[in-house]
């Protein structure tokens, strides 16, 4: 009887829903303590799930006891478990960070904790769902929570960025929903496991159209070049803990869905033409160069980091021509982990720098390294991961990407990955060079809570140390790999 309560699949969805709503009931600005306690529990659930999936293969949970296609199934294979692990691993330190970041009673943080809780419920639900319509509901949860977090505080710039983000995300989920409706019309089911053999057996034109709509909608939500227009103002303008959450996790959710569809029900369609997988790779390449260029030219620190997100998302799409072998998927997920942890650390460090210097330009950072060595160290470590230097997780991701590319004679992809690393070095060192300038001792910085610096440092060191323990993560992706 009690082991039902310890089942991680429903637990990972119920727990964040519960603390999100509890935070709302506690009142404006409150709910940090229950959030941090429950997030630790969620993290333990995730570790248990990882253990379970590695030992017994994919875990499922039929909600309502009906089973697909009448009911909705929750399913955790290696890929879903890896994404759940990343989500809780980023969310927990960011919760500690956010608790110290928002002053008690600050109007901009009144509803941060309820929004955060429901965002995590949406993310966990999305990774666990094996039902195309249920995925749409979780997409709405994630999208609306993210828009609410960007708009928090209600400044004019934030509202404008949030509205632009809202329209982009609504258009994306609208296209996805239209695709789901067309698929339901063609096959009479929205369960992913039921659909897979049906699509493989017979796919009329309409299903091709549906697949295209769903993938395009999700690319818009992932901010893949040229659909990235909404990302820099939204991620660059939000409060630091929010920017970290959005860049590290939210855009990865729609990427995960693209991957899930591409490898699952839409696999027969993506195999129709040998050049089809090169389309996302081409857009990814453009994203790497354009995002890096804008990051190098950015004047404001958070805009620089936001454009770096545009560039780093490009790597995720380089893997599509390589998905014939497991190595391609492993490279993509390692990159999602590396970027998720490093970008959360970088935004967290940027939040400390902005609080301390009272401004947001890169030029104004002069001398910051003397006063905030721990924060700059965290920023540098995150930069090491983004550049892909050993022994970081970013290095491992690039190594695997290049290995998979050369193994399949796609040396162009290997070249792009190398060039992207060099460009990342340029924009990271621009910030570090400025921060390490020696300034007159009278330049004063505001004091910041130590826990802010330590949370950023924890995330950054995780992004580097994961490079040493990448084998376990790679092992996880074997579970449920069909190709």
């Amino acid at each position: 009887m009690t082991e039902a309560l310890l089942d991680p699949l429903p637990g990972l969805i119920l727990l964040p829903l519960a603390w999100g709503i509890a935070a709302f009931l506690l009142g404006p600005g409150r709910g940090a303590a229950p959030a941090i306690v429950t997030l630790s529990l969620q993290f333990l659930f995730c570790l248990q799930l990882t253990h379970q999936v590695l030992a017994d293969g994919p875990a499922t949970h039929p909600v309502g006891g009906w089973g697909a296609p009448l009911g909705i199934d929750l399913m955790a294979d290696g890929l879903a478990t890896a994404m759940l692990l990343l989500t809780q691993a980023v969310a927990l330190p960011l919760a500690v960070y956010a608790r110290a970041y928002f002053r008690p009673g600050a109007p901009e943080a009144r509803h941060f904790w309820p929004l955060f809780g429901l965002l995590l419920a949406g993310l966990n639900g999305l990774f666990l769902s094996a039902d195309l319509f249920n995925v749409y509901v979780t997409l709405e949860l994630v999208g609306l929570a993210a828009v609410g977090l960007v708009a928090m505080g209600g400044g004019a710039g934030q509202i404008a960025a949030a509205l632009r983000y809202l329209f982009a995300t609504l258009l994306g989920s609208g296209a996805y929903l239209l695709g789901v409706a067309l698929i339901y019309g063609s096959y009479g089911s929205v369960s992913i496991t039921t659909l897979e053999p049906l699509v493989a057996a017979h796919a009329p034109t309409l299903v091709g159209l549906a697949g295209g709509l769903m993938l395009l909608g999700l690319m818009l939500k992932t901010a893949l070049f040229p659909f990235h227009f909404w990302l820099p103002p939204a991620h660059g303008g939000a409060a630091a803990p929010v920017s970290a959450l959005l860049s590290a996790l939210v855009v990865k959710a729609s990427f995960y869905l693209i991957l899930r569809l591409w490898l699952g029900p839409l696999a027969p369609l993506s195999a129709l033409h040998p050049l089809l997988p090169w389309l996302p790779a081409l857009l990814g390449t453009a994203a790497i160069f354009w995002g890096s260029w804008k990051a190098i030219r950015a004047l404001r620190l958070k805009m620089m980091i936001a454009y770096s997100t545009v560039a780093q998302l490009g790597y995720l799409f380089l893997i599509f021509p390589l998905l014939g072998a497991l190595g391609g998927l492993q490279a993509g997920i390692m990159q999602a982990f590396a970027h998720g942890l490093a970008k959360a650390a970088m935004f967290a460090a940027a939040g400390v720098l902005i609080k301390a210097t009272g401004q947001d330009t890169i030029a104004g950072l002069a001398g910051a390294a003397q006063k905030l060595p721990l924060t700059l160290f965290a920023f540098g470590l995150a930069g090491v991961t983004l550049m892909g230097l050993p022994p970081s997780a970013g290095f491992l991701a690039k190594w695997q990407l290049i290995e998979a590319a050369l193994g399949q004679d796609c040396w162009l992809i290997a070249l792009v990955a190398l060039a992207g690393g060099l460009l990342a070095a340029v924009y990271v060192f621009r910030v570090l060079r400025q921060a390490f300038l020696l300034t007159a001792p009278e330049s004063s910085l505001q004091p910041v809570p130590r826990s802010l610096e330590w949370a950023a440092f924890a995330l950054a060191s995780a992004s580097v140390l994961l490079g040493l323990r990448g084998v376990e993560l790679m092992q996880l992706l074997h579970v449920g790999w069909a190709g």
Binding site: M1, A4, L5, D7, P10, I13, L14, L17, A18, I21, F24, L25, G27, P28, H61, P62, V63, G64, G65, W66, P69, L70, G71, I72, L74, P107, R110, H111, F112, P114, L115, L118, A121, G122, G125, F133, N134, V137, L141, L144, A145, V147, G148, A151, M152, G153, G154, I159, Y184, G185, S186, Y187, G188, S189, T194, L198, P204, T205, L206, L209
Partner: protein
Amino acid sequence: MKKIAIQLAALVFALVLGSAMLDLDPAPVDLRPAVAAHLEASGVAHPVTAVLLNYRGYDTLLEVAVLLLALFAILAVIPDSQTGRPTPAAPVLQTLARLAVPLMLVTATFLLWAGAFRPGGAFQAGSVLAAALVLLHLTGLLAGWPQPGARLRWGLAAGFLVFLAVAAALLLQGHLLQYPPAWAGLLILCIEFALTLSLGLLLAGLFLFLSRDTEGAP
């Protein structure tokens, strides 16, 4: 030029979509027999309610969370300034509103009760409740809402809390939201009742929290 291009693209898309829909084969999976076969065990007699609250109740749970989320997003944006009573409407309108609101409450109750065996249910009943509140506000009988106090917060969250508690409690004896057939009818009625109240407040809140008319403003 840009406008014409967009219109042309939309037209082409609509034509392609329409022509692809024309040669649609009958779907290989038909869930209607399965829905009908388990209706007995679902606790309700109407197939739509059975799908919404039982077979795919998990979707509905998350949909209620989406509505709450929309409200949180609004509350996160609005300023703390006091809301005032809108300009009172003409006496005739006020009298009509006073007459209409009790009728709307009866309609909402009927819709809630009807959901078990014919079209209706918590979402429909909740919208009628919300419409009654908005009507009272527009005729100047109910002030716009400021940031919610503890009582209103519990009212807004009650439906979701009951739903979540039932889902979690049912986990103890099987799967998430797996109703035992003997209890399904009662549990679904409890959820629907709480949802009606909360959805009424929630949907009205989407309007009333944003209402910033002050006394004397035109």
